[in-house]
């Protein structure tokens, strides 16, 4: 793959940036995410997560299944704040 390929489309991160960080010793998904914002975009890493984990696995000789992805957290992605507020007020 060309190193200028955008791996994380939400946060505009290239394969080269990911590889550079891995070679500098940033070897977990969370560290790479925190420096580059890859995985922090609206899709929350659904698109780029696997690609980044594969890069880490290749570089470290680990099995991709052993690479830790970020914690899944509530809420269901994409709910508007106003709707949550309205629901809350209706309950009162």
């Amino acid at each position: 793959m060309d190193e200028n390929t955008i791996i994380c489309r939400c946060s505009d991160v290239t394969l080269k940036e990911i590889r550079d960080l891995i070679s500098q010793g940033y070897l977990t998904f969370d560290e790479i995410k925190r420096i580059t914002r890859a995985g922090m975009g609206p899709c929350q890493g659904k698109t780029c997560g696997h690609l980044i984990m594969r890069e880490i696995a290749n570089a470290t000789g680990q099995n991709i299944k052993d690479i830790k992805f970020q914690t899944n957290r509530p809420p269901v992605v994409g709910v508007k704040l106003g709707l949550i507020a309205e629901e809350g007020r209706n309950e009162e």
Partner: protein, 382 residues
């Protein structure tokens, strides 16, 4: 791993990295930082990263002002190849009671005596800065244009890399499990990967700091408390400053990539080491934003998370050396503002350890204050 070090710092957050950098810059050799996870995995990597000079006690004003002056030049000082992304668009503090407006006025007197350029604003002036602010429910506002926020990952990374270049060794995924003392002096640190003998140990473990104090039999009145935060989808720039209210209990900023980041405090939050997220937070946060900044509530939430505040009885940090274990230093209890104090934490602790003349006299932030009751209550925290 080394088996002997000049100093061992426990914790690889902003505090530990800043202390390590400052000690190394002053010429100390053989410094080790232990981090049980990866760098910036603790509260620093979960925080709002806001920095403000608008404080209520003289001590906090002085520390915050010096730290902000550092952050203004951090890329150059730390020779950072990325950018700490200091966005200095101000903090707009809003009050919904006359009582809080009076508190702002008192705070501003203290701030001005420290040379901080803050001002009271009328509600009209506040709306000029944030046009969609619902001032119907507000009584007054205060503003300081040099306050702002940074990228906490890059900021910590900048200290980490600068310290590494100066020879500091960072052992990640390495946990301190015990501390040995002899005749009231520290002699070494046990870790899950081996023993390091040293006469200087710095406790910069924040939320876990109390358990590290237990290792030398030191009882400190600190506790950890969960605080939650959320982020929305990114949108075009619409809000310059951080907007914050102590009475209404929230803070909200728009990050440079366009997403809004917001959080609130809650007395009923668990006082333990839980970092799970709750629906209740989401609902209370949404209701507040819907009321105070209506257009922002049109945005979709993309993630929520939680982190820990390490609290002291007067909501000010502890910078001190233990009396019962010489060589055991504490930089703890930041009560939700340890990110913005990071630069001074490093300077003050390195001066204390090397017995140098202090840049800012932080001796009032000693441990003894909890015994004598000479507390310095900070009135303005979320």
């Amino acid at each position: 791993m080394k088996n002997r070090a000049e100093a061992v710092i426990i914790g690889g957050g902003i505090s530990g990295c800043s202390i390590a950098y400052n000690l190394a810059k002053k010429g100390m050799k053989d410094i080790v930082v232990l981090e049980k996870n990866y760098i910036c995995s603790g509260s620093t990597g979960r925080c709002g990263a806001g920095v403000r000079m608008q404080w209520g006690t003289e001590m906090n004003c002085k520390i915050a002002k010096k730290s902000i002056e550092f952050y203004e030049n951090a890329n150059e000082i730390l020779q950072y190849e990325r950018d700490v992304e200091f966005k200095q668009k101000g903090y707009l503090l809003v009050a919904d009671t006359d009582h809080e407006v009076d508190q702002f006025k008192k705070n501003i007197e203290v701030q001005h005596s420290c040379g901080i350029p803050s001002t009271m604003l009328s509600l009209e002036e506040a709306r000029e800065i944030v046009p969609y602010l619902n001032t119907d429910i507000l009584k007054g506002a205060a503003f300081c244009g040099r306050d702002g926020f940074l990228n906490p990952f890059h900021t910590t990374d900048a200290f980490y890399r600068a310290a590494k270049r100066l020879g500091v060794e960072f052992y990640t995924f390495t946990e301190a499990t015990g501390i040995r003392t002899e005749k009231g002096r520290v002699t070494g640190v046990e870790t899950n990967k081996g023993y390091i003998s040293t006469n200087i140990v710095v406790n910069a473990a924040n939320a876990y700091g109390k358990s590290i104090c237990d290792m030398v039999g030191l009882d400190v009145p600190i506790y950890s408390e969960r605080h939650q935060i959320l982020v929305t989808e990114p949108v075009e720039p619409m809000q310059d400053p951080m907007v914050m209210s102590f009475g209404l209990n929230f803070y909200i900023q728009q990050s440079p990539e366009g997403s809004f980041i917001m959080g609130r405090g809650d007395d009923k939050e668990p006082k333990d080491l839980r970092v799970t997220s709750s629906w209740q937070f989401l609902e209370e946060m949404a209701k507040t934003i819907d009321m105070v900044l209506p257009p922002v509530s049109k945005l979709r939430v993309i993630r929520q998370w939680a982190g820990l505040y390490n609290m002291t009885p007067d909501k000010q940090p502890i910078y001190d050396e233990a009396e019962n274990a010489k060589g055991f230093y504490l930089a703890l209890g930041f009560s939700g503002h340890g990110f913005m104090f990071g630069p001074i934490t490093g300077i003050a602790m390195s001066e204390m350890i090397l017995k140098e003349e202090p840049t800012i006299d932080v001796s009032m932030l000693n441990l003894n204050r909890f015994k004598t009751g000479k507390l310095l209550m900070e009135p303005s925290v979320v």
